[in-house]
Structure formats: structure tokens, C-alpha cells
Amino acid sequence: MNAMRSLPRLGLAALLVFATLLPLAFLVALSVSSDWFYPNLAPRRWTGANWDLLRRSGAVIFSSLRVSAALALATGAVSSISGLFAGRKIARLDGWRGRVAVACAFLPVAVPPLALSIGLQYSLLKMGLGGRFSGVLFAHVVPALGYTTLFFVGIFAVFDWLVEDEARSLGASPRDVIMRVTLPLLRRPLVEAFALGFLVSWAQVPLTLLIGQGLVRTLPLELMSYVSAGQDHLAATAGLVLTIPPLALLVVTALAVRRLGAVIA
């Protein structure tokens, strides 16, 4: 009975794998080639030139990669640490205060980035942050902080406060407690929150567009210009570079989860 069921199942699995990975494979092929036009099913030339551009400091793709990385790293850092302290405070609230606080933290996550950018643009422009790295960074942190705060509210909901109280009764000052007990215990969640904030900024489009005013060019924005200009090869390269950090994170998480014997992976 099992053997009979396995052939169609294999077929469906193959279909799933094909449909899922074909687009990515196509991107890879485009990124290592040039002069690939309709109606050819193969490019005229295979070349590593597109990826070389990523290291060429004069190249647009290189500078946008740098900007994206800087923004994402900074967003990750700011939002993870702030999110930790915010989440900690909020997780300790009970009753209606707790619910209201969580709802507040949810707002930056629930509101679509485009709506958020339009709402924020005027104020940020007035503060002189328009078209500047710092302005875009602030804009990215807004939703990222929402995600990390909610993340830490979840962490602290099951956090063992008793450990902190124990430290206090052993003589540790509040500062000691944070530095010697809480932060070390939270090392792993901090890394995860950093990754979360990083990814929120890394893939961001509307906030960068409207607050950066076209002056702050990140990789997603460049990707969109490449598409409009029909530069498929560069677009594919940019797309792959954009996919690498989240993909790496997914692999790491899946491996970690598998070690814990979870069900999915």
C-alpha cells in the first residue's frame, strides 16, 4: 500500500521543489551571465562580472550594498537593545495596562510601511533628517523596534524573574543584576532580535524611498531601478545579495531547531 502511494507523492514533491527553486535558480543563472535576451533559453556569455561589481567601489551596486548593510546593522543594534529594555518593562505589566502596552507595541508592526512613511515624512523633513542616512535609519528603527519589542515581550513572558530576585537578595545592585544576570541570560535572544531588526531594515523599500528622498540609495531601491531599466543581470545579482542574509539566518535557525528535536525541520 505504501509503495503505490509514493509515486504520485514523489511527483508532487518534485513539482513543489521545482516551483520553489526555479526562480532562485534563474536568478543565479542571470547573475553569472550577460547578454541573455528573449527568446534564448541560455545566455550568450557566462561571466562573473556582475559579482565583481559588488567589490568595485565605484559601482552603484557596491555603494548601495554598503548603505544597506550599514543601515541594517545599525537598525539591528539599536532596535535589539531598545527592544530588550522596552519588552522587559512591558512584559511586567498586568491587566489592562499590559494589553494596552502590547497594542501600542503592535502599532509599528501593523501599520503598512508606506502609510507610515507618508505619516512620518513631513516631521522628519522638518527636523532636517530628510534625504539623510540618519533620517532613514530613524525611519527603519520605527517598525524594527516594534518587532523587537514584541519579540522580547514574548521572551520575558516566560522569563524567570526569580533568578533576578535571587541575585538581588545575594547583594547585587540593579545595575549588577542587568549586567551580570539578565544580559548574559539574554545573549541568544539578543542575537535573534538583532537579526530581526537587521532583516526589517535590509528588505525595506517605502520608508527608504520617501524619507531618503532618493538620495539614500539602498540595494532594494537599486534593484527596482535595474528592473525599470531592463538590466536583468544586475537586478538578479542584487536580488541574490538581498536574499543571502535572510537565507543564512533561516538555515541557522532550522539547524538550531532541529537540534532541539522540533517537528518541522
Binding site: 521543489v17 533559453l41 501593523a110 536580488g239
Partner: protein, 284 residues
């Protein structure tokens, strides 16, 4: 040591975290009322009247709902199918489940890029059709990108959202599905009925919150719409952007009304999500 000072500081922190958004909402309200912003010309409901009275607005809303609904439902059905079929712990099934969640890592703008590269009239699909002698020029290919029905957009969105819904579905099957199915079978139900009565309802109920989240997200997403949606009818994010960057300042005020609309839709989405999530019974 509860309430009192600690309660106050926690709430303050929460408000600080949400303050930019709150400021943005307030500003949008003021802008929509004509009090603030580039097109400000005194308090009035004119912007509301213009936007809500414009048939383009409603066409946009309907079209956006169509796209979000179609892509969410399609992705959900595929996710349920994948969870029902690939349920064994090891082997082919496990490999399929692993591959299925890969697009989770792909940013939405890259998913849109793939849509363009593959589904456009000179894209991969068209070239395959050419090679199979099904067409002789790009124009022969039906437009799947920037088309009136948003087919290409829906396909790209399904590709991107399927892994998220599948992940939830896999967990549901593994946690609750097995015991429910065994119960149905031991009571006499065959394979098909077991699926209908035990598996499907459990999947559906568990997936509803995730579906709402996906729907809400898709409806508000800008970058995918930019690359794959048509210029008529306009998706809501695109309409909003168009009004906001319009050369006529009056139109910019209209954009704020659309922004408020989008925010309202999201908030309703969150409320609906919470409501359905709280109704899901926990089977220990």
C-alpha cells in the same frame, strides 16, 4: 510591588515605542482634514469627499481586495495540501517541507523581481513557450505582469506567502492533526472522511489568524505592486503614492485620506487576527 510606578513606566515605554506611529497617524488625520501638510488649505472635509467620492478610489480598493484575497486563498489551499500530503517525519516528505519554506527568506522585492523575470512577455515562461513553438513573438504571450487581473502579481505573492502559511500548517498537522485523525479513524471514518472531518477543520481554524495577517500585509505592500501591478486599475498603495507625489498640492492632501484608510484596514486586520487566534482551542 505591582501597578503604581512600575505600571506607569511600562506604559510610558510602550507609548514611546509607538510614538512615531501615533505622530504619523495624527499628522495624517490633520493632513486629511486639510489642517496640515503640503496641501493644507484650512479645516474641511473636502479631501474625504474627493477621495471617497472618486470611483477610482473604490476601483482601487476592490482591486486590491481581489488581489489580497485571491493570493491568500490560493496560498492557503496549497499550504493545506502540502501539510496533508507531506506529513511523514522523514524521507521525501521532510525534504519537501524544508524546501517549501525557503521563499520565507526571500525579500518581497526579490520575489517581485522573479515574477517580472519569469512571467513578463519576454520572460522565462515566454521563452519556454517560444521554444515549444507556442508563440513567435513576445506579443503573442498574454500579459501576466502589469495586467488588469493581476495574475502575475498573484502568482508572485502566492510563491512568497505560501511558505509562511505552510509553516503554520505543518505545525498544526504535527501537533493536533495526528490525534484527531486517529480518533476519526478509530470511530470508523475512512481516509477521505477523516480528512474532511478531522484534518481540514483543524487546519482551517488554525490557519485563519495567519491568513488574516497575510491578507493585511499583502493589501498594504508597496514594492510588489510597483513591479507587477498595472497602472489601471491601480493598487491601493500605488494610488496612495501617486496622489502623494502628485504635482498638484491638493492631491497630496487626498493621499492622507488613503493613508488613514490603509491604517484602518490594518488595525481591523489586527483585531480580527487576535479574535480568531483566541478562539483556537488548545488541545493538550
Amino acid at each position: 510591588m505591582s501597578g503604581g510606578r512600575r505600571g506607569a513606566s511600562g506604559l510610558i515605554v510602550a507609548i514611546v515605542v509607538s510614538s512615531p506611529v501615533l505622530a504619523g497617524i495624527v499628522y495624517s488625520i490633520l493632513g486629511a482634514l486639510g489642517v496640515a501638510g503640503p496641501g493644507a488649505d484650512g479645516m474641511s472635509l473636502r479631501h474625504f469627499q474627493v477621495v471617497l467620492g472618486d470611483s477610482a478610489t473604490w476601483r482601487s480598493i476592490l482591486w486590491t481586495v481581489w488581489i489580497a484575497l485571491a493570493s491568500t486563498l490560493a496560498a492557503t489551499i496549497l499550504a493545506m495540501g502540502a501539510a496533508a500530503i507531506f506529513r511523514a517525519q522523514q524521507g521525501v516528505d521532510r525534504f519537501a517541507r524544508l524546501v517549501a519554506i525557503v521563499p520565507l527568506a526571500v525579500p518581497h522585492v526579490v520575489a517581485a523581481l522573479c515574477g517580472v523575470l519569469i512571467l513578463s512577455q519576454s520572460g522565462l515562461l515566454a521563452r519556454l513557450a517560444f521554444a515549444a513553438s507556442l508563440q513567435s513573438s513576445p506579443a503573442d504571450m498574454p500579459a501576466l505582469t502589469s495586467d488588469r487581473y493581476g495574475i502575475g502579481l498573484i502568482i508572485a505573492l502566492v510563491w512568497k506567502e505560501f511558505p509562511f502559511l505552510a509553516l503554520v500548517a505543518f505545525a498544526l498537522i504535527a501537533q493536533r492533526g495526528v490525534a484527531l485523525e486517529e480518533t476519526a479513524r478509530t470511530l470508523g471514518a475512512g481516509a477521505l472522511r477523516t480528512f474532511r472531518v478531522a484534518t481540514l477543520p483543524a487546519l482551517w481554524r488554525g490557519l485563519l489568524p495567519a491568513m488574516i495577517a497575510v491578507f493585511t500585509f499583502v493589501a498594504g505592500n508597496y514594492e510588489v505592486a510597483v513591479l507587477l501591478a498595472p497602472s489601471s486599475p491601480l493598487a491601493l498603495p500605488l494610488l496612495t503614492m501617486e496622489r502623494y507625489t502628485d504635482s498638484s498640492l491638493a492631491a497630496r492632501g487626498d493621499a492622507f485620506v488613503l493613508v488613514l484608510l490603509a491604517i484602518m484596514v490594518s488595525l481591523w486586520g489586527v483585531i480580527a487576527h487576535e479574535w480568531f487566534a483566541s478562539r483556537v482551542e488548545v488541545v493538550e
